[in-house]
């Protein structure tokens, strides 16, 4: 009897174990579904951008599934995403990545929001050899570590404002310019700074103010007083949304006159809405804009994406959503070219990606960064009290002329 019970328990455990390994080995492709995993910030300090990212992913999943799904080995599969909330916490994100891979058996990952969290997850996906396509980690250091399974659809951070320096030099008749810059002391902003240093070297320009703003700081008065005293040709500021909002508030209050002001995070900060006319003429780096002429068969072009997104989620898509949608297009393309669910084959297919999406051309460099898509610059322009972002560079997509120099505060209404 006793033996029988033991045998019974052993066989039950064996079956359970078999079932567990059975389900997990099929979790990557579950019936007609290809299961992707993502840890994403649905609560905590990145929650707004986390939700933009998730909406972008969901929109692309729906669209691809509706339009025939992913064809592998003559069969059509659909995408499905398992989400976990990482609470905007890097440690939690890394744990959840382990959980997605080990417990849920996910074999393909989508990135989280922000460079910091991507940096936390990348070592995990790399360890388990899980291909990850990410859309919201732009820090240059992600692409210099030799990661083999990380692919980013966005341009790296050092490219954000390089174009702005070229533009300043062009407006100065090809002569070098004097640059004042203020960057927050975080990975992303410091990468943007490195890009400016390269551009300054290339153009022979001189950096006359190079302030590194502490993270806790929400007052830039000292930096702006220095700018006022030294009168540079261009002022460059990057410090996430807080930096962008603080800069515009204090530039307008202290009446700092600079011929050109270049920034990051203008649309995430809703600059033109929160500061209205005071933000006019600010030049902003962006990964994407709806007016660009890129096309694909799933979303059409940028304007159609903008319209469809608004219809589904009730607000205009920020670039964080657009690039997240593009990540799924990349995965679909790679699965079909690999024509297999073998992780290494999919990884090799990702490496050879060379395609156009509504978001831009995508081709991965040796570090995994997207090398085929330039950054764009828009300028805030106002008519009466309503302000809009107008694309001014590169010239191929410019819808409006770049307004330069910025009129002095004493001449602005």
């Amino acid at each position: 009897m006793n033996k029988l019970v033991k045998l019974f328990i052993t066989s039950i455990s064996a079956i359970t174990l078999a079932l567990v390994s059975f389900t997990s080995s099929f979790a990557k492709v579950d019936g007609e579904y290809i299961v992707l995993g993502s840890a994403i910030s649905l609560t905590g300090k990145y929650s707004s951008n986390g939700v933009h990212t998730q909406n972008g992913y969901n929109m692309a999943v729906d669209r691809i599934n509706k339009m025939g799904g992913v064809k592998v080995g003559g069969k059509s599969y659909k995408f499905e995403i398992i989400y976990y909330d990482d609470e905007s916490n890097p440690k939690r994100a890394a744990q959840l990545a382990e959980r997605l891979i080990k417990q849920d058996g996910v074999h393909y990952m989508l990135g989280p929001y922000s460079s910091g969290l991507t940096k936390a997850i990348a070592p995990v996906t790399e360890k388990y050899k899980i291909p990850m396509v990410e859309a919201n980690g732009a820090s240059r250091s992600l692409f210099t570590k030799g990661y083999k399974y990380l692919f980013a659809v966005l341009s790296p951070a050092n490219q954000y404002l390089e174009v702005a320096i070229d533009l300043a030099v062009e407006k100065n008749g090809g002569k070098p310019v004097r640059i004042a810059q203020a960057f927050e002391q975080d990975a992303f902003s410091q990468d943007v700074r490195l890009g400016i240093l390269d551009a300054a070297k290339r153009t022979g320009s001189e950096i006359i103010i190079d302030d590194k703003l502490p993270k806790e700081l929400n007052d830039m008065a000292a930096t702006l007083a220095k700018v006022k005293a030294t009168k540079p040709d261009v002022l460059v500021v990057s410090g996430h949304t807080k930096g962008a909002l603080t800069a515009i508030r204090q530039i307008s209050e202290m009446k700092v006159d600079v011929p050109m002001l270049a920034m990051t995070h203008c649309d995430a900060a809703k600059l033109s809405k929160q500061h209205g006319k005071n933000s006019e003429y600010a030049l902003c780096a962006s990964q994407w804009h709806k007016n660009l002429s890129y096309k694909d068969k799933f979303f059409g072009g940028g304007k159609k994406y903008d319209k469809d997104f608004k219809k589904e989620f009730g607000y205009a898509p920020p670039y964080q959503s657009a690039e997240s949608s593009a990540a799924l297009l990349v995965f679909k393309d790679a699965f079909e070219r690999a024509n297999s669910f073998d992780r290494d084959k999919v990884r090799d297919a990702l490496k050879d990606t060379d395609m156009q999406t509504f978001y831009g051309n995508i081709k991965f460099g040796p570090g995994g960064q997207n090398v085929a898509k330039p950054m764009i610059l828009f300028q805030v322009r106002c008519k009466g009290d309503t302000c809009e972002n107008k694309v001014v560079a590169p010239t191929k997509w410019a819808s409006d002329k770049f307004y330069h120099p910025i009129p002095k505060w004493s001449e602005r209404g």
């Binding site: 929650s47 302030d211 703003l213 929400n218």
Partner: protein, 297 residues
Amino acid sequence: MDLLIFQAPILMVQASLDGILLGILFALIAYGMALQWGVMNIINIAQGDLVILGGYIAYTMYLVGIHPAWGVIVSPIIMYFVGWALYKLVINKVVDRDLFISILATFGIAIVFQQLMNFVFGADVVVAQSEYGTTMLFDNSVTLPNSKIFAAFISVIYAIGLVIYMKKSRLGRAIRATAQNARAAKILGVDTEKVYAATFGINAALCGVAGALISITLTLHPYVGLPYTVRSFMIVIVAGLGNLPAVAISGMGLGLFEEFADYILGTEFRIGAVFMLLVFILVYRRFKLSKKREYLK
């Protein structure tokens, strides 16, 4: 580059005024902290989060079309009751325990407040516009936002008002008596429980005023409370408890020191420099204290 301030001495005027104006605002927050620290022996880690909540009250008014400057009246009234409720719900359970427990409790409150504000107001950085314009001095070479001048002015008014209230009113006297000797005050008929609740409420109200002022001068975000806690903690450490003029001077002094550190050492060292100063002050104060102890022997 670091010596720009000596090449253009007018920058010294700008730096001094910027430092003093901001310092006064920080001194107001620090005064609330000193008050409840002195009365209840509680170091409130949630101080900065109360400030930010006060700021969001003013920001909400701005969103519905009321000028955010009215926040300096509305926000302290609401925040007084928030503080009072916090005392009744949490603080009175830990007020008789040691300092460590109270730090843990207020740290917990800080986290809850951050998450709640994130939930209600969203994770975006926001600003309220006062449209107060700019004061220009010395042929436009020194520019001061009127919103900062307004903030300093309101802070001074509240501080003076509070000093008078503490001196003249019944509750003020009861608070001071409790701070000096709680047991004696209780024996003489002071309802210390009420005094503690009121003190916590007054501190929260001061945070409310400061928050409303920050919404029109700086930026708001659910997670930026901690720097305000740290700053007011430092001001109190430097100034000592229950001494308003010292708190005001220490607030302005630290503001000035920070601005000049920015020009002379560089922006990346401005906060580090303030912390170095704190270390020196702590060492110096202990030195003085040990001298006193020797004298007592």
